[in-house]
Subunit: 146 residues, 2 copies
DNA sequence: CTGCATGCAAATAGTTTGCATGACG
DNA sequence: CGTCATGCAAACTATTTGCATGCAG
């Protein structure tokens, strides 16, 4: 999505961060948000055009954008983190435990739940994370064949 | 909760796992479930009675009970995992970002959401995880003073 | 007694950091 | 041109694993 890319670049420029070719490449992938990539997969893609880039640089850019609230990090202790630059705010996820596919379902009722929580517990709620784990239709088919 | 402890021990015995003193100590702490402990905090507690126990043993017992579905693991990539043996099924959590306190709020509407998801996406849903992050009342007070 | 559990130490994986070199603005 | 970004390698942390010894059943 072009709008996301522009917004991310604007925010970087506004805070005087440099737009290097490597950063541009990483930001483009994150802005597209397709498939909720890992750092490793971003690294592999960027490497085709910038063979000298290091994973460290990808980590640094991803972390920078996370701090600017332009990327959502989905942390997984049992595997690599996934990143979403197209919807950088907390939202529900549907994760296939077979192939790792991540889908964004439509679930509107979360805002109501958050309101209910605030009055019930007195917490000042800053963020949330909702993950459903299951097997996607594609993997269900594969399993039936096997 | 005594009921949880008995159930965990029964399940271990039923599958011919040995009830060693170390295991008993770890299982007791998990069954109580108080505060959603880390492996490290379980280790420190057990060490008072069993000075020779190792973290590896705690990890092994926790992992075993997780596989028997008698402990819920809350994975945190930026910190240590937390464990809940009193409610070993997926449920919402409210986590203080200041002190790490974890509270179990009452939120019934999740089952409805899960049903909605299944018909919308075709996923076979196995589990979920819902975390709200915020600042608990205690830490809000402390911040005001500071 | 016999095999599973323990506990030490070493390995692992993902991520972060230090620092010398390079290039954006 | 000065400063920030890059990229290599080393550090770090939580967790897992290998293996010799010990103890529960």
């Amino acid at each position: 999505m072009q709008k996301r890319l522009d917004r991310m670049l604007d925010k970087l420029k506004a805070r005087d961060f440099r737009i290097t070719p490597q950063r541009m490449a990483v930001v483009k992938i994150l802005a597209a948000g397709y498939g909720h990539p890992t750092v490793e997969s971003i690294y592999e893609k960027v490497r085709k055009n910038f063979p000298t880039i290091s994973v460290a640089t990808v980590y640094k850019t991803v972390t920078l954008l996370k701090e600017l609230n332009e990327v959502l990090e989905l942390g997984f202790p049992q595997g690599s983190n996934r990143y979403d630059g197209s919807k950088p705010y907390p939202h529900p996820h549907l994760i296939c435990t077979e192939c790792g596919k991540i889908v964004d379902p439509d679930l509107a009722s979360l805002t109501d739940m958050t309101q209910e929580l605030i009055s019930d517990t007195g917490f000042h709620i800053v963020s949330h994370r909702l993950d459903f784990f299951g097997v996607c239709p594609d993997c269900q088919r594969k399993k039936r064949k096997a």
